[in-house]
């Protein structure tokens, strides 16, 4: 009766197709926007699974941050319209091999990991518990992570600003 299996398969295929397109499309801008599609699919899968905080965080961070920065960077560089050159094509077999190895490794890890397959209770909203964990038990780690990010940010700004006369 529940439409969740259908929705899962739809969004999962969106993810897979988006991911494949991101890898295979020759134009780099198309690849970025395929990645956007893939991320949206992942967010939708989270939403279907009832992890609404994760879904929205996925949207905020990956769509609102990563993809926008990617596209901004690509818009600023000149090679938007060009296809990948011959050098990249020569490297393709290595990439395929690497990807296949990674895929196999992950699959074996997952199958050996003993994940339980079954229907979980997804009615419980996760936001509150995540908030309590982040700002309660793991507050030190959380703050360290944010300070680290701040340092990285300042460092990046410092490094980029090479000469100022």
């Amino acid at each position: 009766m529940s439409p969740e299996p259908l929705l899962f398969w739809i969004f999962a295929s969106v993810c897979v197709v988006g991911g494949l397109m991101a890898v295979l499309l020759p134009r780099i801008v198309h690849a970025v926007f395929s990645l956007f599609l893939c991320f949206c699919g992942v967010a939708a899968i989270y939403a279907v699974a009832g992890a609404d905080f994760l879904a929205v965080a996925q949207l905020v961070i990956y769509v609102g941050g990563v993809i926008i920065l990617f596209s901004f960077g690509i818009l600023l560089t000149g090679r938007t319209a060009t296809s990948l050159g011959p050098k990249e094509v020569r490297n393709r077999p290595f990439g395929v091999a690497l990807g296949a190895a990674l895929f196999l490794g992950l699959m074996s890890a997952i199958s050996a990991g003993g994940f339980k397959v079954g229907t979980a209770d997804v009615g419980e909203p996760t936001t509150e518990s995540i908030g309590k964990l982040l700002l309660g038990d793991y507050i030190i780690a959380f703050e360290f992570a944010s300070v680290l990010l701040l340092v990285a940010l300042v460092g990046a700004a410092f490094l980029v600003r090479r000469t100022q006369t």
Binding site: L6, L7, H30, F33, L59, V60, G64, F72, T80
Partner: protein, 366 residues
């Protein structure tokens, strides 16, 4: 609304299953949900599209000592409809040098991003499509989502003006999401929840002094600046004047939608009003008490406690007021320059919003 939609979609699913002669299963219920969603979307898009555009044009006209639309229908009410028909009938021009797939896709991305915002808004007691725990965050995510569509449009048009428009959009929206988000965190901290329903409930009772902007009087010290910051950042996120740089008509011709024509242009036009409305709605929920009236009648124990039409009326009034104020501002102010927009964001709004955040946290601890 979800409460009302559930039986409808179940009924449609049963009906469909009977029609095909199969036992009702998830497939039919999915189709029924899609149908209901489409119906709700039409219910939202039509008034937003027709009403928003009409009001904007009428206001612009009257503020400029003109009449505004007055030919089609009584008081020109059908003008927008006529324009929509015209847009539909126009040739859909896709220049050969555009990147056609992205060019076609972009308006839909913008459309989705702008209209999904209505899902999380609590319109009245018990009327909310998706009572998400992370409503505020989703709203921020959707603004970013819309930006992607605009970047797509700007890039795929293969027009330098469009590209500049797209870049301005990215720079502007990404920057303004910071003060927008931080200012939104002030009510979140005060209410202790990110759910728009929760924030509304928190403001119930006590009338106008229950609203966060004036809560108990002294909350105004941080909440009035936070409200202004949120309002200004919201204008920038919705690309409204004086922040309409991505489409600045006197500089970039029409910015990111220079190359669009016909209904594809319309698909950029409607989301602008949708985003204006949903930002106004979120602002009224976060700071102005959502569907609570200023007299305390809708709070716990009040005369109109949990009466849906009373709440809807007040939500509508507040949202419309904010919407109209955005229109008035647009027809009053000149446009800013991109570096001044950035200055305003990083050197004025961001520090101010951080100060508001700290102030809210301090008040919360008191």
């Amino acid at each position: 609304m979800i409460a009302a939609a559930q039986p409808v979609s179940t009924a449609i699913a049963d009906f469909l299953a009977e029609l095909v002669g199969m036992p009702p299963n998830w497939f039919f219920s999915a189709i029924a949900m899609l149908l209901v969603a489409t119906g709700v979307l039409m219910l939202v898009v039509t008034p937003v599209g027709l009403g928003g555009v009409y009001i904007e044009r009428k206001f612009a006209g009257r503020m400029q000592n003109r009449r505004g639309p007055n030919r089609v229908g009584p008081y020109g009410l059908l003008q927008t409809l006529a324009d929509g028909v015209k847009l539909l009938a126009k040739e859909d021009i896709i220049a050969p040098s555009t990147d056609a797939p992205l060019f076609r896709l972009a308006p839909y991305v913008v459309f989705i991003g702008a209209f999904t915002g209505f899902v999380v808004l609590p319109y009245a007691p018990g009327i909310v499509a998706g009572p998400l725990d992370v409503g505020v965050l989703l709203f921020l995510a959707l603004i970013a989502f819309e930006t992607i569509g605009i970047v797509m449009a700007g890039w795929s048009s293969n027009n330098k003006w469009s590209l500049l428009g797209g870049m301005r959009e990215v720079a502007q929206v990404v920057s303004y999401e910071l003060p927008l988000g931080i200012a939104a965190m002030c009510p979140v901290i005060a209410a202790g929840t990110m759910s728009l329903n929760g924030i509304t409930d928190y403001q119930g009772g006590g009338g106008i002094f229950g609203w966060l902007i004036l809560r108990n009087g002294y909350w105004a010290v941080v909440m009035v600046p936070a409200f202004l910051i949120f309002y200004v950042s919201g204008l920038a996120a919705a690309k409204r004047a004086p922040f309409d740089l991505p489409e600045a008509e006197s500089e970039l011709v029409a910015g990111f939608h220079t190359e669009y024509s016909g209904m594809r242009f319309g698909m950029f036009f409607l989301p602008e009003y949708a985003l204006m409305l949903s930002i106004s709605g979120v602002t009224s929920v976060l700071f102005l008490g959502g569907y609570h009236d200023p007299f305390g009648l809708s709070g716990p124990g009040g005369t109109f406690h949990d009466v849906w039409w009373w709440g809807l009326l007040w939500f509508f009034l507040k949202t419309t007021f904010l919407f109209l104020s955005q229109i008035c501002l647009r027809w009053t102010l000149p446009r800013m320059r991109i570096d001044q927009v950035m200055y305003l964001c990083y050197k004025v709004l961001l520090p101010a919003s951080l100060a508001c955040l700290v102030g809210t946290a301090a008040l919360r601890l008191l």
